[in-house]
Symmetry: C2
Subunit: 700 residues, 2 copies
């Protein structure tokens, strides 16, 4: 059937696939058998759309087509439908000459979508679509390229996994799959009459807790013939406690691991096996949480959170580099207009959306996505600006969640941390306005950002304390020194040299300042510390903190980890036993920190058209690894004697390193850029650059 | 189960019932087996909402509840659900004291809705609901007061109707139900194997046309035992041609008429039986089209059109006075934010929405609905104002449909008719802003309306032609004299006395001006003519024009009727045989014209708190009738000797009449207000006022 047909793909209204999918997955969260819908507005895809295509054909052409939904075919503006056979895959003849085909589709279960393919034309981005909202836009698509696979089913991959161990208990068995996993469970050869109860646990303790576990399922068996019986809802677990009624039997139990097929394009290996294991477990942690969208964690929320995703995206950039997940997540987070409330109801999470888009652009260089997101970016920014007070600052409304971090702090009034996020968001919006040619908005947002930055430092910079104070409430400054605003100011490069030193010494490395307790904010803190030159300190932290979870048997990294807690309290969170997620995307932070600050690779222009490589051994004997870019990988090796950099990507890099001895290079020309500081331009395609540190001290 | 329980009703998020229902019914239109979705955006209800209620109980109370959708019960802000039995009707115990119950509901098929009833509390407007959009609002409800009848099924009534006549044809039979009807068809005792084809016709010719009819259905029979087989989709028809395969038999065919139960609160009877029949057929026409919403016509579109509804609402006000249909229709038309396009894609139809709301308020006095509609009213008005040009006038955008009427005319540029609709809309919006206490918007819209009226008359009033010219395009005046702007200016009372005379004589009664050909615009024309004092002319028109349809066998009034067309072309429209609707709501116009200008009853203050009665016999020997108001009816009788007015409504009326003889009254005091003109204040509750015209000429 597909012979001689033009390549085609399933098409739909832009963003609607993501918005539909997001609604669908957002309501999968359950707690002990009860639904737990998210506390933010769920948007819906349009149910009624029209596709159109203008054909200029020399010969009549038979279009083979399939439509997801009820539909009608119209030609050249006529109100009278073209007849067609009402079969799953049908066809219509387009006459020679200039003709416009319109396909009206209605579907209130899945998104309206269509696939059509002829000898010379097929559904693709040259087809247009309208949601009957006054505008025609190019149709959107993904990789649904087969007429028999419409976009209703997400293209997961599956792997059947056998238990690693089965232990009998008084009441049943405990099945251990050896490590954290996600999917459904099948009982092969189940027979008899009665029920099978499954109590899932990310920890053994949780599975043993029976109805005290966060999730459980019950299957009913009623068959004298043995049959295979599977659970219907996917769950996250390592252990399952299984109890069955006496009248029920089954042959064995196995598990279908459900996952998104992704290539691990980044990698890391070094002389410290603990660090290697941390990288590996981080990658597995992220993979389990990267699916339809980038989730926070799969056991409990299974939700898309903008702040969490901001970290996840960055980690993804140094591992899988799957930008499709990022785009789907950004579209889902943004939802539809009108903007009535902050993303995830959290004021800071709205602002992280702009930061994530900025990161996305820097790492991917994908200006088309910036362009397609632009109208919604503007309406989101205008929503924020409409909520600014006379000083141009954002204060939380009574119904807003002002989060920043799980920690005690004043949340009312003008918080310095929130203004820094807003300032950075304005800068990002100004950049995007420039990229799409909206010079009026570019000027306006740049001006607002500059004013706001001036306001922030004028009001909140405290020379004596050496950092930014907490904020202002009802005109009164709150001089409390917390780490958040200083972390953000460092990350956004808003500090001058004196301020950098002050922040590093008096705030971030100051034990008397309230410590950060969440991996979420620790990510930003460690990022800031690296930016302030504290690499060795950061990588000691990684070994200890993430290593501590490994010592407790972690097979994926956790939502929260306090080394000082006794073991029996390690799974508690939000006031409930076992509520803590033991496979949480933000737990994978080491991948980002290792890639960006040990391998030292980062883009400086969108899409790695320009990038820097500044490797740091941080006490290792040797390390090697690679960092993905849109069109290739940058591989780095370093030991005490040499650095090797190989890239099959198209961008131009700058290698920077320190050396007390005089180095030599096999290609390119070294520049001295400071005392013991060298730079090498990495401009030759596919060149294996090798720098040998000399034996002679340059200062000798 | 309901014993001793507090009265309760099903509740949901405001407007979502109407928006959900509108989407559902909008896609029922079919053309010869193909779907025909509307050409405007279909909005969807929220799928995820939270209800909440604060209880202050002296004793614990058992709430009996049922929820339409998946749900979870939470108490006092806890994240841990309250357990409940998962049955259709379940219960939960509310402890004594101060407690907040939250019910999260998800439903992507019907609207999320709930019903709960205890000894002292039940779901009603004191419960609040949020769509997780940052605001809690009072929950909405209608008349779903029974826990076992959730709002998924619309509460229609049904009546089984037997055929009036069955005629055999060569290929089958023609079943005639005697008059226009709507619903499904049942074959009793169908047996055998094969198919039954039904070809529906509003006219005999259409049913006879087989697959040339607008709608047809096919039923499959496959049973050796006789069974009753019904069609699944409701259709509008009088006749059905039935053809069946030889292997199929059935006992008899009957029809389930599906309708909204409404009381005919208005009435009319007079010495002219033709006019009585016109009133009766008008009422039946309107009734068939007033269902979930006020539709245009039930055979073809089954859609809600804002301009059509503007007429339908007015007719309803003089017959059924069912304001619930009006509210549902207004909510459905308005849809959700953001406003991206005009209502029904038609620029004038957006403006009619404001006019309809104004009429609704005047006839119902329902300020609560004005208040609940206010935010959407504002966003719709701001959408219009954002599209105004520098002169403050609306020009159609390329994608807009500028309709006005089915007639040849220039549609580009600043059309006088559109500006008059906008001016009236601004006045209405200013009125509503005042009613809800938004003084800033009241001032702004009043000012804009005054400026626009000044602009309209300065640019478009043509003293020489005696009316308003057509408009201006690219700076150039279009001096064509068409009736539309003059009709609107007269209806909105924008003309001074000289202009009124000029418009009446030089425009509306001028045979050389392009004539109006649609019942839609004829309604407005006849309304304007009455306002200009041409009652006798208008009621002659009604007898002839609507009587002409009766002469052609109409049992309901049509979408269009041109007396000059030959009979065989009477069912043609939009270039297709039988596309014309023979049961079209706007065809019921005579009810409005009779009620408002013959019985002469109209509100002058919202909700008939003040009203006027100015009966006119228009050549009849006698007439009697009643006009509904929110809280009673105003009955009027008139013949050459007397007028009787009886009202059981609470408002205060003013009866005005002319008499050459000196009249006497049985109650109240007559005022002389002009030459031969008298007024009587109708202020006494339930008084039967009777005015006897005297025998003595007052001027003698």
């Amino acid at each position: 059937m597909h012979d001689n047909l033009h390549r085609a793909t399933w098409i739909w209204y832009p963003d609607d696939y993501e918005i539909w999918l997001h609604q669908k997955v957002s309501v999968l969260r359950q707690f002990r058998g009860y639904i737990c819908p998210p506390s933010w507005r769920l948007d819906a895809a349009y149910t009624s759309v029209k596709f159109r295509k203008i054909f200029e054909l020399e010969e009549p052409e038979l279009l083979t087509l399939s439509v997801q939904g009820d539909f009608v075919l119209l030609m050249d503006g006529s109100m009278t439908p073209i007849p067609y056979e009402k079969t799953q895959i049908t066809s219509v003849q387009i006459p020679a000459g200039h003709h416009e085909l319109t396909v009206n589709v209605y579907n209130d279960r899945e998104i309206p979508a269509m696939f059509a393919s002829g000898e010379t034309c097929g559904t693709d981005g040259t087809w247009e679509v309208t949601a009957l909202n006054g505008k025609w836009v190019p149709a959107a698509s993904w990789h649904f390229d087969d007429i028999v696979h419409p976009p209703a089913a997400f293209p997961f991959h599956y792997e059947t996994i056998q238990p690693a161990a089965i232990t009998e208990t008084d009441e049943g068995v405990i099945v251990d799959f050896g490590q954290e996993t996600f999917g459904t469970v099948t009982f092969l050869g189940a027979a008899g009459r009665g029920r099978i109860h499954l109590y899932y646990g990310e920890s053994l303790e949780e599975a043993m807790a029976g109805e005290g576990a966060e999730t459980f399922d019950t299957l009913s068996v009623d068959s004298s013939e043995p049959l295979d019986l599977a659970t219907s809802v996917t769950r996250a677990f390592r252990y399952i406690q299984i109890k069955k009624d006496p009248g029920v039997s089954y042959g064995r139990v196995e598990h279908q691991y459900e996952y998104l097929l992704m290539e691990r394009r980044g990698g890391f290996n070094c002389s410290d096996s603990r660090l290697n294991e941390i990288w590996e477990v981080s990658a597995r942690t992220l993979h389990i949480n990267m699916r339809e969208f980038l989730y926070d964690g799969m056991k409990r929320d299974r939700w898309v959170w903008s702040g969490d995703a901001n970290l996840g995206f960055l980690i993804n950039n140094y591992s899988f580099f799957d930008q499709d997940v990022t785009k789907r997540t950004m579209i889902a987070l943004r939802g539809k207009d009108p903007v009535e409330f902050h993303i995830n109801t959290i004021m800071d999470y709205t602002l992280y959306w702009f930061l994530s888009l900025h990161d996305y652009y820097l790492y991917s260089g994908d200006v088309a996505f910036i362009r397609s997101s632009y109208p919604k970016l503007i309406s989101l920014m205008e929503f924020c600006l409409n909520r600014c007070n006379e000083a141009g600052m954002l204060e939380g409304y009574p119904e807003d969640w002002v989060f920043i971090d799980w920690a005690p702090m004043e949340r009312r009034g003008e918080l310095a941390a929130e203004q820094l996020l807003l300032c950075r968001s304005l800068e990002a919006a100004a950049l995007f306005a420039g990229e799409v040619g909206d010079s009026e908005k570019k000027a306006r947002y740049s001006e607002l950002a500059a004013q706001l930055k001036e306001t922030i430092f004028r009001l909140f910079w405290d020379d004596e304390q050496g950092g930014l104070i907490h904020g202002r409430h009802e005109g009164e400054l709150n001089r409390q020194l917390l780490k958040y605003p200083s972390i953000f100011a460092a990350r956004f490069d808003y500090l001058n040299e004196g301020q950098r030193v002050a922040v590093r010494e008096k705030v971030l490395k100051n034990d008397t300042v309230q410590q950060i307790n969440t991996p979420f904010m620790r990510f930003f803190e460690l990022d800031a510390l690296c930016l302030l030159g504290e690499h060795d300190h950061v990588f000691q932290e990684i070994r200890q903190y993430w290593g501590g979870m490994l010592d407790l048997g972690a097979t994926t990294f956790w939502e929260e980890y306090d080394p000082d807690l006794p073991a029996e309290l390690q799974y508690d969170m939000y006031g409930d036993k076992f509520r803590k997620s033991l496979c949480h995307a933000w737990g994978a932070a080491p991948i980002y920190l290792i890639g960006k600050y040990m391998l030292g690779v980062k883009p400086t222009e969108p899409g790695y058209s320009r990038y820097r490589v500044e490797p740091k051994l941080c006490g290792l004997d040797w390390m090697e690894g690679k960092v993905p870019t849109p069109d290739g990988e940058i591989a780095v090796y370093m030991d005490a004697q040499r650095i090797r950099v190989t890239s099959n990507a198209s961008g131009i890099g700058t290698l920077k390193f320190r050396s007390h001895t005089k180095p030599s290079v096999n290609a390119g020309e070294l520049s001295v850029v400071g005392e013991d500081e060298y730079e090498l331009l990495l401009a030759m395609p596919s060149c294996d650059y090798e720098i040998e540190f000399g034996k002679v001290d340059v200062h000798a």
